[in-house]
């Protein structure tokens, strides 16, 4: 019998049929057509597939669909509200904190998760919090600046 799972995706209740070992990453990309969440390594090393689960950053390549029942998942596509960029997105734009842009959605989601957990991180805490997200273009320097300036501008913002 076909198995199904229900969860909240970017504020909407969704249901999807799944097969054994199917991951959240590929369901987002192929079923929901939310392709902002990227494949980079498939084993959780690079972080380009990062999404939020109840506001905490997780690697969607290592999450099986069967485990997301009733979870609240936010992807990069669910971050901007009413056409207005989330402060972290805006900070990435303003700081030119990206080049090829492929790791960017994962970086942004990880940063949002980091700021959910620690709204006013020190520079060292930003580095530690972003450490496991890889960037090949070498945009790290400006990403650190972007997260710091987002923290600054987000004072008092509600969490995601």
């Amino acid at each position: 019998m076909e198995k199904k799972v229900q969860f909240e995706l970017n504020g909407e209740k969704v249901e999807v049929a799944f097969e054994e070992n199917q991951t959240l990453l590929w369901a987002l990309r192929t079923h929901f057509k939310l392709t902002g969440t990227k494949y980079g390594c498939g084993l959780g090393y690079c972080g380009s597939c990062t999404v939020l689960w109840d506001g905490d950053p997780v690697r969607s390549c290592g999450i099986f669909l069967e485990d997301v029942q009733d979870a609240r998942i936010t992807t990069i596509e669910g971050l901007a509200t009413n056409g207005e960029l989330h402060p972290v997105q805006q900070a990435f734009v303003d700081n030119d904190a990206l080049q090829c842009g492929y790791c960017t959605p994962g970086m942004v989601m990880n940063a949002v998760g980091l700021l959910n957990q620690n709204p006013e991180p020190t520079r060292e805490e930003i580095i530690a919090g972003m450490e496991d997200n890889l960037c090949r273009c070498g945009a790290h320097t400006r990403i650190i600046d972007a997260v710091a300036s987002a923290s600054e501008s987000m004072k008092g913002e509600p969490k995601l």
Partner: protein, 713 residues
């Protein structure tokens, strides 16, 4: 395009091959507006001048169009992979055509919409593409002024273009907009012989910093990469791979995979493919295929490769020479003989090679992560025996390239699969393991240097033999009376593919030369900067050292115990680059932390200063990897790196706390390369700083903690 052909083009010439399409047909398809056609290669450049061609339209391989709505489309075969040309090319166009930047629309790398281009590599876009776009924009501006002159009945001398309008100089309230001038027209022109492009003092947009134009798309997840194309009914493909390069398939049993529900199996000889709607199921199915392979015997591994290179790379070619080495030896007071090693490096873009394709009605449409859309089209046309016009590569963003996406094996594989399942869209995205296996690595290399100096620090001779790193970066910019540079290569040297990696071979050559310079300077107790200044020949190289030294405070900076400073100078893509770094070395563990890096570049005119800084920062951060931690491990054809866990990219905690980018003020000189140069001097600067910090002289990259500890013994 075949790799050897690409390499020939890449290493030996910057000229694009001639136009390969029917110009008359192409121009018919272009639509209306004012269209300026131009050629991107220097060679063909002259042919795109008006009046030099017998035909109705000159040869061209790029064009811009002022549309009837006043917006400007620029059609170019270049692609955007993070280097920012989508912004910098639009800047020069906006400046010369007098339109605002947000009215410029870049259409890039779509083989049906843009004319032929050989590919995006070699830091060539700003050097060779940019001057032509400027010229074309000027041409368009002149056409608009002519049209305005007729319309307003005012002589052209009394008119000027400004902000999307042509205005009467003496009465700015009298004007006509570009929209009004282009409406209902189709005017096609080539370039004037000497288009009156702006001089540095006249720039409005060039030389100013602009944020990336593609940033909003990229931070919202809307930017589309090759595997983001999701077509109805699309199947994901996985291919059966051998355990090692050069393996032969002995036996295969596909029965278990075929028994899996919904799995489609395809086979053409050794090319065995499974397809499924879900990539996880396709993956499971491909793993269920039992295979037996014959693996070729090992000739070398990552430790013995250097010996193997010296034995097999025996075909020498003298690249530069001057004076007489024997004479130089006689004049020397101190002789040096050293050997330097560098390992294979992966490109390791975060986006793996990917392609989405559909074959229908005898026509293949594809979105591929490729730095060479036209080369890919050619390869697919050859492989599937399809006419070129039946293969269409669409515009797409690239998730990093660095030379690794000049080669398009995944696109040919996807094309074959698409043809086998005609009508069904397919997607092939390499796994990280496949990416490490089929990447065309930067080659392992050996450099042997013999040199001599007089007691006063003048170099009397320099003999540079480089094995497998090529000639890039070896231009003799030091003033050495007796010198010779020879490159060596040979067939069968490497166990797997090698290719162009950001400034191909140059990081290796620059590391060897600049470490050697450091050794010579220290031998006579001379400051490394003073030693280089004493021997420098080229003035632009000197200027790059000077701006870096001033910023770094080379002569004044006081470093704490355990810290060290180092420098290296290099040349790449017409740009001179000096890097100075401060490092901290832990003598117990061998760990190196780069604390600060200064990048001083003489790159001629700077179009987007912030874009330049970002490329410099990116080069330093990426360059830390090849310098300190990245190394391909292998036993002949078996690549042992399978994921990022065993190929250590730089991290947020390992990048320098501070990177400062400075450029020589040379706005009146032609613009030079910016995407690659700054990476070439990173390794040498770090190696020299490590020596300064702790006395470990390491002759091999990457400088792993163990190699530093070994050198300290």
């Amino acid at each position: 395009m075949k790799a050897d052909k690409i390499n020939r083009l890449y290493f030996d010439t910057v000229d694009s091959p001639p136009v390969q399409f029917d110009r008359r047909e192409f121009i018919k398809k272009m639509g209306s507006g004012i269209i300026i056609v131009f050629s991107l290669s220097q060679l063909a450049f002259t042919k795109a001048f008006r009046g030099k061609d017998d035909e109705e339209y000159p040869e061209f391989n790029a064009y811009l169009r002022v549309r009837e709505d006043g917006f400007v489309d620029c059609f170019s075969g270049k692609i955007e992979m993070g280097q920012g040309i989508n912004t910098s090319l639009a800047q020069v166009l906006a400046d010369e055509l007098e339109v605002s930047l947000d009215r410029v629309n870049m259409i890039m790398g779509d083989t049906d919409l843009v004319p032929y281009d050989a590919g995006t590599w070699g830091s060539m876009t700003t050097r060779f593409h940019d001057p032509l776009i400027r010229a074309a924009a000027v041409e368009a501006r002149l056409v608009l002024i002519e049209l305005a002159s007729e319309k307003l009945e005012v002589p052209v001398e009394q008119l000027e273009a400004a902000n999307g309008k042509v205005v009467v100089k003496s009465d700015k309230s009298e004007f006509v907009t570009y929209e009004e001038l282009t409406e209902g027209k189709k005017i096609v022109r080539g370039l004037s012989e000497k288009p009156p492009i702006k001089k540095p003092g006249e720039f409005d947009v060039i030389g100013k910093s602009f944020l990336r134009r593609d940033a909003v798309e990229k931070v919202t997840g809307k930017a589309l990469y090759a595997a983001d194309i999701q077509l109805p009914g699309m199947l994901c493909a996985k291919i059966v791979r051998p355990p090692a390069h050069g393996s032969k398939l002995i036996a295969v049993d596909t029965s278990k995979a075929e028994a899996m529900e919904g799995v489609k199996l395809l086979r053409e000889g050794d090319f065995i493919v499974v397809l499924h709607e879900h990539p996880e199921v396709a993956e499971k199915a491909v793993n269920a295929i039992e295979t037996e392979w014959e693996i070729p015997p090992s000739k070398a591994d990552d430790e013995t490769i250097f010996e193997h290179i010296l034995k097999t790379a025996t075909e020498g070619r003298v690249r530069h020479s001057g004076g007489n080495l024997e004479q130089g030896k006689k004049e020397a007071d101190i002789l040096f003989e050293e050997e330097y090693h560098d390992g294979y490096k992966a490109h390791a873009s975060i986006e793996t090679h990917a392609a989405t394709a559909v074959f229908e009605d005898g026509r293949l449409t594809m979105w591929a992560s490729s730095q060479t859309p036209f080369g890919t089209r050619q390869e697919i046309s050859d492989e599937l025996k399809l006419p070129l016009e039946k293969v269409h590569l669409k515009q797409i963003f690239l998730g990093g390239g660095f030379g690794g996406k000049i080669y398009n094996q995944q696109a040919v594989e996807a094309a074959r699969i698409a043809k086998m399942v005609e009508g069904t869209p397919v997607q092939l995205m390499w796994s990280r393991k496949e990416e490490f296996m089929y990447d065309r690595f930067s080659p392992a290399a050996v450099v042997k240097i013999n040199s001599g100096i007089a007691n006063d620090g003048k170099i009397t001779f320099f003999n540079f033999d480089t094995y497998c790193a090529g000639a890039r970066g070896t231009d003799p910019f030091y003033n050495i009376p007796h010198h010779k540079t020879t490159t060596f290569d040979g067939p069968g040297v490497h166990p797997f593919y090698t290719g162009a990696w950001r400034a191909p071979g140059n990081p290796t050559n620059t590391f060897a030369r600049e470490v050697h310079f450091d050794i010579m300077a220290h031998k006579i107790g001379m400051d490394p900067l003073e030693f280089r200044m004493k021997n420098i020949g080229d003035n632009r190289a000197r200027r790059s050292m000077q701006v870096a030294a001033d910023k770094f405070g080379w002569n004044t900076v006081k470093l704490p115990e355990g810290h060290g400073k180092g420098m290296a100078v290099g040349i790449d893509a017409g740009t001179y680059v000096t890097i100075m770094v401060e490092v901290k070395v832990n003598k117990t563990t061998g760990d190196v932390k780069v604390l600060r890096a200064v990048v001083g570049q003489d790159m001629g005119q700077v179009v987007n200063p912030q874009g330049t800084d970002i490329q410099a920062e990116g080069c330093v951060n990426m360059g830390l990897g090849y310098s300190l931690s990245e190394e391909v491990k292998f036993d002949w054809g078996t690549v042992k790196n399978q994921n990022f866990a065993d190929f250590q990219l730089p991290l947020f905690s390992t990048i320098p706390e501070k990177i400062e980018s400075v450029t020589v003020d040379a706005m009146d000189e032609p613009p030079q390369g910016g995407g690659e140069p700054a990476i070439v001097s990173v390794g040498g600067a770090i190696a020299n700083a490590v020596f300064d910090a702790c006395g470990a002289r390491v002759h091999r990259m990457p400088l792993t903690p163990q190699r530093i500890l070994d050198a300290l013994k």
